[in-house]
Amino acid sequence: MGDEDVVLLDFWPSPFGMRVRIALAEKEIKYEYKEEDLRNKSDLLLKMNPVHKKIPVLIYNGKPVCESLIQVQYIDEILPHKSPLLPTDPYQRAIARFWGDFVDNKIYDLGRKLWTTKGEEQEAAKKEFIECLKLLEGELGNKAYFGGENLGYVDVVLVPFYSWFYAYEKCGNFSIETECPKLIAWAKRCMEKDTVSKSLPDQDKIYDFVLHLKKVFGIE
């Protein structure tokens, strides 16, 4: 494969952007990373994602691909034999897609509630958050990764949130490891891989970012 022109419009704390970073790294695709200022979106971002105006945007030879789950599948499909992320069997693929959707529909919103709410609402979010993580632990079972012996689609979709766990724990006053030790063990296992550790920011940096956001939005 020749030199493709690959650009990723991203924002460093975004778990959605992190998914794409990991996928690109797994496939060893060279790309140009462009940091977006979300309060001052670039013309390129507005042109490449006119519908949602959001990051991440993957620009592959000038053509944009939007939405992180779609981007991860796209990256997997253009280089299917290198570090495959989705299995080949349709039923196994359906299971992976199901859990990818589950993470997408639950984890971000619940996580957000953990640092933006207090009292009863926060407690309810905490409870549901843990329940979701436990369901994911069930799906992981005794496997090293959701993808089996190697990193797979669900791993890529979920592990970025690990960089936010410390912030969630501090704001929510709880320990995720106490509740879901298997999941934390899985996350640490993922972090042993360069493709993951180099794609995720430090948990401390994310926590500082959350504190900054709380100040900006006037959240106690």
Partner: protein
């Protein structure tokens, strides 16, 4: 071939309709089981979809697949004829983008516009119109979103093309009108007129009172909240 294919659905659900249409497009025979989702969900439903406890559920040789779009992808990958997704990864990504857009933006706002209280209706309606305009741009002069033939985007857009049109009739709304959205309107006509589409659409005369009742329920629940 001796395959066991079953669909657990609900006759009025736009989501279970998608699963049925996809199987029909592939010429796959299946057994349809209607679930009483507003009353008593069967043990089988709870067994096959323990996480969400919803329809549709596709059962293929004992294995259950849930979530309508996941089901559509599974059907496409299992019965590899009469393909309804493009082969090219970029075109496939584009189709998936529009599917997500319909499910996360178009369909929910259109439904909301149907039952919102008066004071909120204008705002939601304006939002819905914006989304329809964007969706219409995806047609780009083609007969169907999939080109000359029905594709996966068309299957998903049936929620808008048929179910929402019926809903609008009940509410006296005229969001998806021929003058406001000529291309999208024409698409919904062409789509609904395909014989294979018509075969499993819930009949209008049954759907109308059902949706009326559902809207009343939503309005009641919203007023209580």
């Amino acid at each position: 071939m001796g395959e066991e294919v079953k669909v657990f659905g609900y006759w009025a659900s736009p989501y279970s309709y998608r699963a049925e249409l996809a199987l029909k497009l592939k010429g796959v025979s299946y057994e349809y089981i209607n679930e009483d989702i507003f009353g008593n969900k069967s043990d089988l439903l709870l067994k096959y979809n323990p996480v969400h406890k919803k329809v549709p559920i596709l059962l293929h040789n004992g294995k259950s697949i849930v979530e309508s779009v996941v089901i559509l992808e599974y059907i496409e990958e299992t019965w590899k004829h009469n393909l309804y997704l493009p082969q090219d990864p970029y075109d496939k990504a584009t189709a998936r983008f529009w599917i997500k857009f319909i499910d996360e933006k178009c369909f929910p706002t259109l439904w909301l516009a149907a039952w919102s209280p008066e004071n909120e209706r204008e705002k939601v309606t304006n939002e819905a119109c914006e989304y329809m305009k964007t969706l219409e741009s995806a047609l780009n002069g083609k007969k169907f979103f999939g080109g000359e033939t029905i594709g996966m985007v068309d299957i998903v857009a049936s929620s808008v093309g048929y179910f929402i049109r019926v809903t609008q009739e009940i509410m006296g709304l005229n969001l998806l009108s021929a003058d406001k959205f000529p291309q999208l309107f024409q698409w919904s006509e062409d789509f609904a007129n395909c014989s294979i589409v018509k075969e499993s659409l819930p009949p209008r005369d049954k759907l109308l009172p059902f949706v009326k009742g559902l809207i009343a329920k939503y309005q009641q629940d919203n007023a209580k909240a």
